[in-house]
């Protein structure tokens, strides 16, 4: 009789602990997910051409920008960059990969900005 009660009690405790753990895990995971969402914006001449959720990218892909020749942007899971450009000093390409919130690359002569929305952590 005692054993049975103990078993019950133990089972109940285990279930509660598991439930709480699952809840905590779920909460933590989903709010982290929302915080980590990196949205890259591509603007040309002040107009937004693309708004890309980098964390949803499954396969890497290249985008050729329609407004200027020679400008290619590469998008991969979690990061984005100018791949090639026809501007003289290629500073935009040299900036490299953008992967954190607040990261930005600019092609001044072609008036194109790529930025990951949000603020840098100082």
């Amino acid at each position: 009789m005692n054993m049975f009660k103990k078993g019950d009690f133990l089972l109940t405790v285990i279930v509660i602990v598991l439930a709480l753990t699952a809840l905590a895990f779920f909460k933590c995971y989903s709010s982290n997910d929302a915080k980590e969402q990196r949205i890259a914006i591509v603007k040309a001449n002040g107009n937004i051409l693309y708004r890309i959720n980098l964390d949803n990218i499954k396969e890497s892909r290249d985008i050729a920008l329609p407004e200027s020749s020679g400008e290619i942007i590469r998008v991969e899971r979690g990061r984005i960059r100018f791949l090639s450009a026809d501007c003289p000093d290629n500073l935009c390409v040299k900036t490299g990969w953008l992967s954190k919130k607040g990261d930005m690359a600019v092609c001044l002569p072609n008036r194109i900005i790529i930025k990951i929305e949000g603020m840098k952590d100082n």
Binding site: G46, I48, C87, P88, M104, V106, L108, I113
Partner: protein
């Protein structure tokens, strides 16, 4: 031309809602951070105002007032708007104050060097000698009463590039204040203006860029409230040929990029139009004359970084300039 539809709207608490914007304009990147409930509309209004300034004052935009003035050089008078007259008169004032080191008539030199284009080149010495005959500010014939202006000789070109971002910064600050914004920051390619303090009441902390680090690390900071911080440097626009760096700050007396022993000058003042003109003038003048120019002006302070990586500051900044401990080989020197 520039629009603000891509602004990030960041909500923290009611007091600290702010807008962050980057746009391309005036040949550079313009960043705004504006705090307040009406931040988005104000940031848009600033963007529009800057657009309008560029349309009037740009030397490169066809149909701008400056473009019409230049196309009529040696031929006829052109009517200028109030904004343009204001900026022109400030240019003339600083030209005289700096004994010609700041000079809005450098247009033909800028053109010969191909600055701001992809055709940068080293002009022949004979070419420069000829062009130097066209850079006299006394050839700006300005009739203030009628707001009409003419450049005396054909081939002369007015170029307000050394002061127009400074003017734009002040226009932005005026809009922020008029709209009741108490905390705002705008950076036009190195021309920084702030309104008030940050929302937490502490001054804005502005970084001074390391002139030799391509990644843009800083060698120190200054804390400012309601002021402008403008830097002119040899690292902003330059090209290299045969291992020599040719930067964009032309000495109007020699016709060549200023070789004054400085890598950058930062000027801090209430109005960014003044700081902009002075930072250019002080860069051309060099450390000793440049420091003297800044120290003689009430309300102006400066930071000078020499080619041998020494940092000098004017007296008023001695307790305000914070050197970055990790500064890469830079030595702070206390003058006098």
């Amino acid at each position: 031309m520039i629009s603000c539809y891509g602004c990030d709207s960041i909500k923290t608490s009611n007091i600290n809602d702010f807008i962050e914007c980057e746009e391309i304009g005036m040949g550079t990147i313009i960043k705004q951070r504006v705090y307040g409930k009406n931040a988005r509309t104000v940031a848009d209004e600033v963007t529009e105002a800057l657009n309008s300034i560029e349309k009037k004052l740009s030397v490169n935009l066809e149909g701008s007032e400056i473009d019409r003035l230049n196309k009529n050089a040696g031929k006829s008078y052109v009517t200028l708007s109030e904004d343009t007259c204001f900026v022109l008169e400030k240019s003339l004032y600083y030209s005289r104050l700096s004994d010609g080191r700041f000079n809005p008539m450098v247009g033909p030199l800028v053109k010969a060097w191909g600055i701001n284009t992809d055709k940068q080149r080293v002009p022949e010495q004979t070419e420069i000698a000829d062009i130097l005959k066209l850079v006299d500010v006394n050839d700006i014939l300005l009739d203030k009463k009628s707001s009409r202006c003419m450049l005396a000789k054909e081939g002369q070109l007015l170029d307000l590039g050394g002061i127009v971002k400074g003017y734009a910064g002040d226009v932005a600050a005026e809009i922020y204040k008029r709209k009741g914004i108490e905390s705002a920051y705008i950076n036009l390619g190195g021309n920084v203006v702030v309104v008030g303090n940050k929302p937490d009441g502490t001054p804005w902390e502005i970084g001074i860029q390391d002139p030799r680090d391509v990644k843009g690390s800083i060698i120190g900071t200054v804390n400012i409230t309601d002021q402008a911080v403008v830097t002119s440097g040899d690292y902003e626009r330059f090209f290299e040929k045969d291992n020599i760096r040719y930067h964009h700050i032309i000495d109007p007396k020699t016709g060549y990029p200023a070789d004054s022993g400085l890598m950058s000058v930062t000027v801090i003042m209430d109005a960014s139009i003044d700081a902009d003109a002075l930072s250019t003038a002080a860069f051309v003048l060099g450390l000793d004359k440049g420091m003297k120019l800044i120290e003689d002006i009430k309300g102006a302070e400066g930071i000078f970084i020499t080619t041998d990586k020494k940092i000098y500051v004017t007296v008023g900044l001695r307790n305000i300039f914070n050197q970055n401990e990790k500064a890469n080989g830079y030595e702070y020197v206390q003058k006098r």
